[in-house]
Symmetry: C2
Subunit: 398 residues, 2 copies
């Protein structure tokens, strides 16, 4: 078991408490699995009470013993009934109601908010600290980066397995099934957490041939046909053919931490239009590596990168087929697929050292296919460093 080090937990809580103070919030109650794992080291069923000043208290419903084994945080107190929570909050926060209390209102269901607002804390003012939590989480520690590097090694194992597994006539879906097995055998946790409502991701997008440019509801430059209207994205039933470009976009999870990587393979020579995008894709990565330094503004990076694509005459079908392209070039990631920062249109966020993001300049050309590779990067004083170790070249499988 990879226990989250106690100094990690302590540091995160100090930053969060400073944020609460700045927002004039007297205390927060944290409930969501991802946030619980981040601030306690476990996702056992519980509520973490964080006063703006003083000692956090972790109230656990089940399993208390496992929470004690996995979390370095103390005290851990058993919580029999949710009605016991207000008294624990009173004690931890040290001030009587009315207070301003923070909840993850960006993810907690409305009905849960009503229960907290009307039944548990009727005298307090409840505010959203989801944004603050995302801000704390967006800057990664050395330990977190080491987890993300481990995830990158799983991505590498998966990409390396592709040439041996691909066969003409095999379906995209079956290739995905084989790659999923490789990922799990190499320590992929199996699923990836998200923050946005309705956002769904399963393994990634293993897409091939012209149908790969099928648009979908997925908030991603690639969509894919899927195998069912019940999940209309990702791999379809299409059989791999000679001449196909196969895009292997995988989201690997190591102890909760993600690595997002896309590599391209082709069965024989790919369509020249896809081959041609490759040099521009490489140039864009190089440009961003040099320019995405601490202090850079995400919206400005977006505009400048788009200008480069425009100058190269390749704006058509960039980041999605036809006019359906997404308005971001990179998304932050860590414990969730959709973390801060986003390199996207109109964003004003300033890059900081230790932020991590997946940059995925891609083209989806109707009737032709998709191309473009993707790395997960960390922001360093000198620009971006790739956490991925897989060579970026398009691999031609003869």
């Amino acid at each position: 078991m990879r226990i989250v080090p106690s100094e990690e937990i302590a540091g995160r809580l100090v930053t969060f408490q400073a944020g609460l103070k700045k927002l004039e919030v007297q205390g927060a109650v944290i409930r969501q699995n991802t946030d619980l794992y981040y601030f306690t080291g476990t996702v056992q069923d519980g509520y973490l009470i964080v006063p703006a000043e003083g000692k956090p208290v972790f109230a656990v419903r089940r399993d208390v013993r496992r929470a004690e084994e996995q979390s370095p945080l103390r005290p851990i107190v058993p919580l029999g009934n949710l009605k016991e929570l207000p008294a624990l909050v009173d004690e931890a926060v040290g001030a009587p109601a009315p207070r301003t209390l923070g909840l993850e209102l960006d993810v907690l269901p409305a009905a849960t908010f009503f229960f907290f607002d009307e039944k548990l804390f009727p005298k307090d003012h409840l505010v959203d600290v989801g944004g603050l939590i995302r801000q704390v989480r967006m800057v990664k520690s050395a330990w977190e980066l080491s987890m993300m590097r481990e995830a990158a090694r799983i991505s590498h194992a998966v990409a390396r397995a592709v040439p041996n597994l691909v066969r003409e006539g095999m379906s995209e879906w079956d290739l995905m099934a084989e790659l999923q097995r490789v990922a799990l055998l190499h320590g992929h946790l199996g699923f990836s957490r998200v923050r946005a409502f309705n956002l769904e991701i399963f393994f990634g997008h293993i897409l091939s041939g012209p149908e790969a440019a099928t648009p979908s509801y997925a908030d991603s430059p690639t969509g894919g046909p899927g195998v069912s209207p019940a999940f209309g994205q990702g791999s379809g039933a299409r059989a791999l053919k000679r001449g196909d470009l196969i895009s292997v976009d995988t989201m690997m999870n190591r102890h909760g931490y993600l690595n997002d990587q896309t590599r391209n393979f082709s069965l024989g020579e790919p369509h020249p239009q896809l081959r041609e995008t490759y040099d521009l894709c490489r140039d864009l990565h190089q440009w961003l590596k040099e320019n995405a330094k601490p202090g850079a503004v995400t919206g400005e990076l977006y505009d400048a990168a788009l200008e480069l694509v425009k100058k190269a005459g390749r704006l058509e079908n960039f980041m999605g087929p036809g006019g359906s392209g997404v308005s971001f070039l990179a998304h932050g990631l860590g414990l969730e697929v959709d973390e801060f920062p986003f390199i996207a249109r109109g964003q004003k966020m300033v890059l900081q050292e230790g932020m991590t993001l997946a940059f995925e300049p891609k083209w989806a050309i109707p009737g032709v296919g998709i191309a473009g590779f993707e790395n997960t990067y960390v922001v360093t004083p000198d620009g971006l460093e790739s956490l991925n170790i897989t060579p970026e070249d398009l691999v031609v499988i003869s």
Copy 2:
């Protein structure tokens, strides 16, 4: 592509509209992926406006063309900006504000509710129709049952593969990886949707030996060690040994519809205490099959079944190790893992023909292991019919 038949969609909407009328709600806006799939046949990004009387309107952000291909519902109108939604609601509902409008407040984030309440529909009264939607969805049509039978065939393929894949010394996790591959190759959609906040499920629980009785935060009779505090349930790194009982609990998904099945295997003769529970487990299934008829009250079935276990002197470690057992014996399932009805303590729901539920009487004995099998059943006039086709016997692998 398995398109949802138009008569399915029409029938569901009629039932839902009757429910809205009864609740005196003038219209509802449906947003969550599962509910969208149920009422429209697609999960493309959109909002379904359902007036209590009159024609529903499906407003789609992306991808409109795919929504048109997958959904038999008309009209489908493109939605550029969320600010266009109120005018579409006005037109569909046909009455001006103030109105009572229904939202899925059991799943929609609080922040989304605030936006609807303050910005989009400031004059209307917004109420929760999540419960109504769950009530409509809990009774399955013949078409839905045929999907659930297809999912049961995937469960069968996975269970049948176990004896050939199990090897002494192999880890639980690696067995899970191999079974996941089999599931995907047989048409499993790869993941399973849930309704409750923080509820997470990945593939199921493939657990072995004494450590299988490790309790966890999972709302399930079995927990399991997991391989990381980031997801502290399910398969662990433990190597399979002679004498192990291996519990293969899988959640298979066919076009969104689930099948939950548990079968037991042992490497040589299992611990006699686990072998002994098997007859009682079979008796409990037989008892429920005969007694869970339309009209039966779920809480009464729970009490009576528990009484049978008590009479047999096997209440200890039933439905979880030590005192940590869950207070349900069966959960409804369909498009989500946690549907109505629950055969659970204190529940007053009355069974109806066409309801589906997974019944899982299990024992988790600390230091010994877990045993018990599980089927997904449909309520018929004569009692329960199993949708599962896998023989229920414990399979001894020599």
